[in-house]
């Protein structure tokens, strides 16, 4: 864990209010997909936690949605500027070997699933967004060799409805799942699966520090109190109290 300056080499919109930022710097501490970084921004007191969407030793890619002051500020940064980044944070996904892994992403929660899918190799991917213009990475996931299904709430692309509808409609068969997205989506997914299949879920929580010191992000899990930033953000389905 450290703070380091990364150089912005790309920062541009890839969907409605969604930006891709590519950073160059020493990223070799990142060891698992689903880990995140915490970004210091001028004019914001706290850092902003953003998942690592893709990484190698020399840099990382972030996908972020503009929702408030911090992400707005991020969207105004220019190529060549330096960013104060704390990393690597969190546990990330444990890449297990299963015959039919399913990857389910909702909204900007799709971001960290890219590096995961790269490592899984044989995944089926279901992406849920509100509308066609909110979708990103469909082609990138396909390029990884994954089978990709889309659900849009307004029916502008793929299945009309939620990710659970897309899974049913396409009769997707899976023996393990990985998911990241809004809480109601993850809840609906787990309710549909009804404990027949195990999986890992990535959580969000408002954070004070991002590195385990302040207890700002604690959730009550079956195994006890767990910090989303340090013990998570990824938790096993069996550990989650709904």
């Amino acid at each position: 864990m450290k703070t380091a300056l990364f150089e912005i080499i790309e920062n541009q919109p890839i969907a409605h209010d969604i930006f891709r930022m590519r950073l160059v710097g020493d990223a070799h501490g990142i060891s698992a997909p689903g880990q995140f970084v915490n970004i210091a921004l001028e004019g914001c007191f706290l850092r902003r936690p953003i998942s690592v969407s893709d990484y190698d030793d020399h840099g990382l890619t972030l996908i972020y949605k503009v929702v408030g002051r911090g992400t707005e500020k991020m969207s105004t940064l220019h190529v060549g500027e330096m960013l104060d980044v704390m990393l690597p944070l969190g546990n990330g996904f444990t890449v297990a070997s299963h015959q039919h892994p399913l990857v389910v992403g909702g909204g900007v929660g799709i971001a960290p699933l890219y590096a995961l899918t790269k490592r899984l190799g044989n995944a089926t991917v279901v992406l849920g967004v509100r509308s066609k213009e909110d979708l990103f990475f469909e082609r990138e996931f396909s390029a990884l060799g994954a089978k990709v299904f889309i659900a849009t709430e307004d029916g502008t692309l793929g299945t009309k409805g939620f990710v659970t509808d897309a899974i049913r409609e396409n009769d997707i068969n899976f023996d393990y799942f990985y998911t990241c997205g809004p809480m109601p989506m993850m809840k609906a997914l787990v309710a549909m699966i009804r404990s027949t299949t195990s999986g890992q879920l990535s959580f969000e929580e408002r954070m004070g520090c991002g590195f385990g010191a302040c207890m700002g992000c604690s959730l009550q899990m079956r195994s006890g109190s767990r910090r989303v930033c340090k013990d998570g953000p990824v938790f096993n389905m069996e550990d989650v109290v709904w």
């Binding site: 864990m1 929580e205 004070g208 590195f211 992000c217």
Partner: protein, 302 residues
Amino acid sequence: MVDTRVSLAGVMLQNPIIPASGVYGFGGEFRDFYDPNILGAICLKGTTLEPRFGNPTPRIAECTAGMINSVGLQNPGVDAVIAHEIPALREFYHQPIIANISGFSVDEYRECCRRIDAHVDIIEVNVSCPNVHNGGMTFGTDAHCAAEVTKAVKSVTKKPVFIKLTPNVTDIVPIARACEDAGADGLTLVNTFLGMRIDIHRHRPVLANVMGGFSGPAIFPIALRMVYQVANEVHIPVMGCGGVRSASDVVEMMMAGATAVQIGAATLRDPILCKTIIEELPVLLNKLGYERCDNSLRLCRQ
């Protein structure tokens, strides 16, 4: 070279810089960033007799130049702190440790102190937590209650006892005096200010607990004012706390009358802040013409 050592009610610190309770956990989390042995002391997370999960999330709300927390004294309980946290810290850390204890009755404060007494160097008594009901801050907003807690804790320890006061009072001076009269060896000023934020999109408070404790750079002038008011009225040392984020803030706190200075919220954004300040403080004092970190810094009462 400037001598940065300070004596805190008889405990020698190599410098006056201390991470405040609640932002440093039990010491382990900052090890990646720097060796904690450079610190003056470490103040542990607030500890209660029984384990506490704390409040539901969201527990954190950002503010202009600060933050509100409603963690609610999450801790594993005093016995686990003694059995696991302090031994783990002592393995790599050899400077003084300050316990920060809290309770829901005078008896609980006393018992918590009695148990942790042998394992730490200084006891800081939090009578100022705004995030728990029927305890914490209610003891610190009343001079009589604060004095009762002070007496109870003093009766079970020979270690220096610092009472950490809340700024959420009309006049902090009588409460500070009551603690001194009840035998306190020092005071910590201040804990967080009761605050609140509202999420205008969701039409509800940001924090699950509605209100929480506001801290960070925004509160510095108020904390400084309270340190100044109190330090001139009592004869026991004061640890200044609230909004500090630079060596010059530390010097201001010491000029206001603080003997040592605690740093809270600012270390969450900048985890190496304490290290930076420890490096910059002697340089700044030297520039200002001071040779020591002592009373010579203090303003005369204007």
